[in-house]
Symmetry: C2
Subunit: 351 residues, 2 copies
Amino acid sequence: MDNLLDLIAGVDPVTEKFAVETQRRLDNLTKPKGSLGVLEELAKRYVAIRNNISPKIKKKVVYIFAGDHGVTDEGISAYPKSVTSQMVKNFIAGGAGINVLARHAGVGVKVVDMGVDFDFEDDVNIIDKKIQKGTGNMTKGPAMRREEAIKAIQTGIELAGEYVNEGGDILGVGEMGIGNTTASSAIAAAITGFSVEDVTGMGTGITEDGWKRKVGVIKKALALNRPDPREPLDVLAKVGGLEIGGIVGIIIGGALGRIPVVIDGFISTAGALIAMELQPNIEGYLIASHSSVERGHKVILNRMGLKPLFDLSLRLGEGTGAVIGISLIEMGMKIYQEMATFEDAEVDRKL
Amino acid sequence: MDNLLDLIAGVDPVTEKFAVETQRRLDNLTKPKGSLGVLEELAKRYVAIRNNISPKIKKKVVYIFAGDHGVTDEGISAYPKSVTSQMVKNFIAGGAGINVLARHAGVGVKVVDMGVDFDFEDDVNIIDKKIQKGTGNMTKGPAMRREEAIKAIQTGIELAGEYVNEGGDILGVGEMGIGNTTASSAIAAAITGFSVEDVTGMGTGITEDGWKRKVGVIKKALALNRPDPREPLDVLAKVGGLEIGGIVGIIIGGALGRIPVVIDGFISTAGALIAMELQPNIEGYLIASHSSVERGHKVILNRMGLKPLFDLSLRLGEGTGAVIGISLIEMGMKIYQEMATFEDAEVDRKL
């Protein structure tokens, strides 16, 4: 625990050492100043995060953290719990939405089993980091013990460290876990102080009655466990999830390794919220890809001061928005590095 | 002229023949129904436009129409007129913003000289359709004669026809022409009835004084030429541009060939407005990629009933937003065609 907090303390703020030089280069390119808008902003962010005036984006991976949730016993999801392990197999086989979009964007997919309630075959291409087979039912007690939450975070940090050592340039975050919008809404309510109703959405597609039930379950879990909003680890342990802990960790690890972490929808943003509560310097390393349909997403993004790049009414998770975000960041960096300057192209400047 | 109107009358409305079947397939994929939002909508649009339940997207090209504007004599642009031909050479050399983004998206770039005031070398890779060396100064008389406007449209229609014959699957529209936001604002004001102030922006980056001057120039041109808002060809000829005529034509030609036309920012949307005024069935074939910073863009999009896919604060033109739009459409079609179904992947359905 002390080790973990020491590690987290080591996240440096993103510096603006190269800001003037980056802006000068962008303004020398054959286009009106600032006319590529957000793409130019993304190039500046990328240079600043990498702390390198001419960084490449070669290795791109989205990590999908998977885990089950004991709270599914309360009937809060539109899908049965079995879908978590079945979708993990779908990711491995390459047939899920994230696989299709990641292939399009040239992004690799890695699947991390943080706590799926299923025994996968040994030869299956999963990163096996199973801590336990799903969390406890948070309406009956804490989802995890504190040690498990810490272990989940440490696992994520280690994975990011290995990725950075292998030459990883940018990292996307995705997840799979039936019941994890319920956990994320509980985290959001606990930390932001917004009402459960304000941060609870329709998940994978529940009915209005299902939504009322879900809100009731979250309120019960919060009343029973009383997570301390000033203690992000307490919140994660009591009402979070194993895969959310992995997400917290990989975000911290990405920041430690000075690579940008592109978050996806509601669940990965809930993980990012915990990471930022632990270490505010994390903010500079986070890029919010999209604005999800899920109600609580905007609440958390506002709390964190993050503005998403686009809104395509996505609500699938898995990292699907994150890989589109990675593609936009890559476009920004290609603009920065591949466009001709006014001198190169012999184009006249502004009058 | 009669030929042209007969041709335009031949644009069929997009039919929904495959709508039920497409929706059924999307709903069978391993994701909650509708959870990929706009990407699913784009897949449905693509199938409907191609009138084919299983169409491919292989050949993708953005056409950049270039032309000069006599109204630049009035000092309405931040850049000298020479930049039109210089940027055309930059497109050919592959150093412009559109080249970088098109390469990223796997989209080809074709440059069409509709009326650049420059003699390019014969061996340069430009599609030479020069009608004349730029338009007339619309504060002194009409920008074009009616015959030139018609010829510009016919040129665009022919180019689209050739592209469809070569197996083109989707078409992006871009442009280059110093002074063409001035022409586009004049078109927007003439057709929509909004005030010149409401549809005139800062172009490539003029000052507040420059903006007032630009508004005055447009008002003068409209007062002198009195384009008839019920006659889109009259508007195009009197206050439009040669490259805008080419855009009108390629949009009509794309619709005739049943391929989607992805429009870019303010200028290509002004061309699309004229095309839709000529033939309302065009709407079904148009996909608006982004919402531009340029003030008049939203006014025209609203008038046309088009909702752009994203807003990245772009204002470069060239087709830069259009190629990002093409990439999103491709993602939607890959989702539709490459994702596993619940049966394939043995994933349990909704409870």
